[in-house]
Symmetry: C3
Subunit: 204 residues, 3 copies
């Protein structure tokens, strides 16, 4: 294949948000790899202060590493039996067990570098859950509570929780992972506001 294939923003921003809450020493095995079997993405291990990440070097770790001192290894080891389509089981999981056992990593140190120029905060809908709540790539700590989030023609104001607004009312809040999320009390923000993954947002 001539073109590298890269994950979209959802796993990149969600991984950075979710992983913050995990205990020190957690090892994250992450495989979002549209090109699996294509052969173009080297397997890597990244060590931050508190967490380990194991997966393909395709941009998946671009945001989670930002602002951290990231040590990085290219994994050159190959298992005896490597299926073409399940590297999570055959390659990455055994590497995780090596980290647990504090064995030397079977590869070589490389300098960490990001693959893509993602912004620190992405003013887009990156994920919609099955209630219709719409998660953005914007960190809630960065946004003044008086700010409005514009989605198309709608201007959405802040509320602390679902219980603070009337049923049917849209609002934005900092969700439990620290991201700005757009919701409707007892309704679907996706339906009410016509949001989809990829919808752009403007902060005012």
């Amino acid at each position: 294949m001539s073109r590298a294939r890269t994950p979209g923003p959802a796993p990149i921003y969600l991984l950075a948000a979710y992983s913050r809450e995990f205990p020190h020493g957690t090892i994250f095995l992450c495989v979002v790899d549209p090109g699996v079997g294509g052969g173009e993405d080297m397997p890597i291990v990244i060590k931050l202060d508190e967490h380990w990440f194991v997966g393909p070097h395709n941009g998946l770790f671009d945001i989670v590493t930002r602002g951290h001192d990231a040590q990085c290894w290219e994994i050159t080891w190959k298992p005896e039996r490597l299926s073409k389509t399940f590297h999570g089981r055959d390659l990455y999981a055994p590497v995780c067990t090596m980290i647990v056992k504090q064995q030397p990593l079977p590869g070589r140190r490389i300098a960490w570098h990001e693959r893509h120029a993602w912004p620190d905060d992405l003013a887009q809908i990156i994920y919609i859950d099955h209630f219709g709540n719409a998660v953005t790539g914007i960190r809630g700590g960065e946004l003044d509570r008086g700010a409005f989030v514009k989605c198309g023609e709608h201007e959405v104001r802040h509320a602390g929780t679902f219980a603070e607004v009337q049923a049917g009312q849209p609002f934005w809040y900092e969700n439990s992972s620290g991201l700005v999320e757009i919701a409707v009390n007892r309704g679907s923000a996706a339906d009410v506001l016509g949001l989809a993954v990829g919808s752009g947002l403007v902060i005012q």
Copy 2:
């Protein structure tokens, strides 16, 4: 908010039925809290003879405690970082770890009292699974095997198992959690009998 929000009967009766089967010493972290973030439900810990329950004092534990000697604590501790919408992770889970570690509970003993006047057995459909089997709030041990369960115009008789009735035939049985369940062999009781959550039943 002026009105407390309370869970419907499903989690209340299902929790009582399901929890019976768990080993002694099991700790149940239960959050069904339509008012989460609204601030009106105090966090509690309940200790029965065999099990612990941790969650909001909103009626969720009304049935599971019935007939037991319930010790109850109000949790007054607050974690350093308490998100507004994920008390399960931020507040209740750490309290569970304190119980595991046999640490003193960070709160004060209070007298246990139920929040709502639920009957011991609720003659209603409280849950429909994805096969269309309809679970009631009636304990099977309370019901004579000769009894009929009336759902609208249908009179449903007892059978021990699915295999005892013809395909397409409705019957009631005591399910593996001890509740009366209405089913159709190789069919959907919800479709065949027109049942929905909340449908009332009459025992004859």
Copy 3:
């Protein structure tokens, strides 16, 4: 009941394929038992060189045992409380804990015999995942990479991975469980080729 009820091919062939990858000593509790409660299937334990299997003697283990030296026990023990419809919890799970604890099996040795005359490789679609990939009962190692898999009027050729064919293109490959699977790159093989569980295949 006069007729024994038997599982279809999906669990029989998938169990054989999936279980290969599990560590030595793994105990598989397997209940696919359309006749549960009907009383006709004796509970058994099977020990192969590397794995244990616990479940009903209804044909579920016919393929997983093939080519292995299978030791078999009929379980005659009954738990104090045996629900009529959840033998997985009440009967089989406690038997698994006995194996873990290396206790003698509560039953008697019997000679293992298959229940049904399944072929080693089944030229049928046995499972369709939610992407529309269609899994067959044919082991990939048995099939020459130059072979075509005929599904109705379609002749599907081999490719090593999704990335090797154009978007929208069907192909067959050996999946990560070792079975021949029919897929469409960035599409649904079930939709494109009109496949359903049970669809017959011809190898050319």
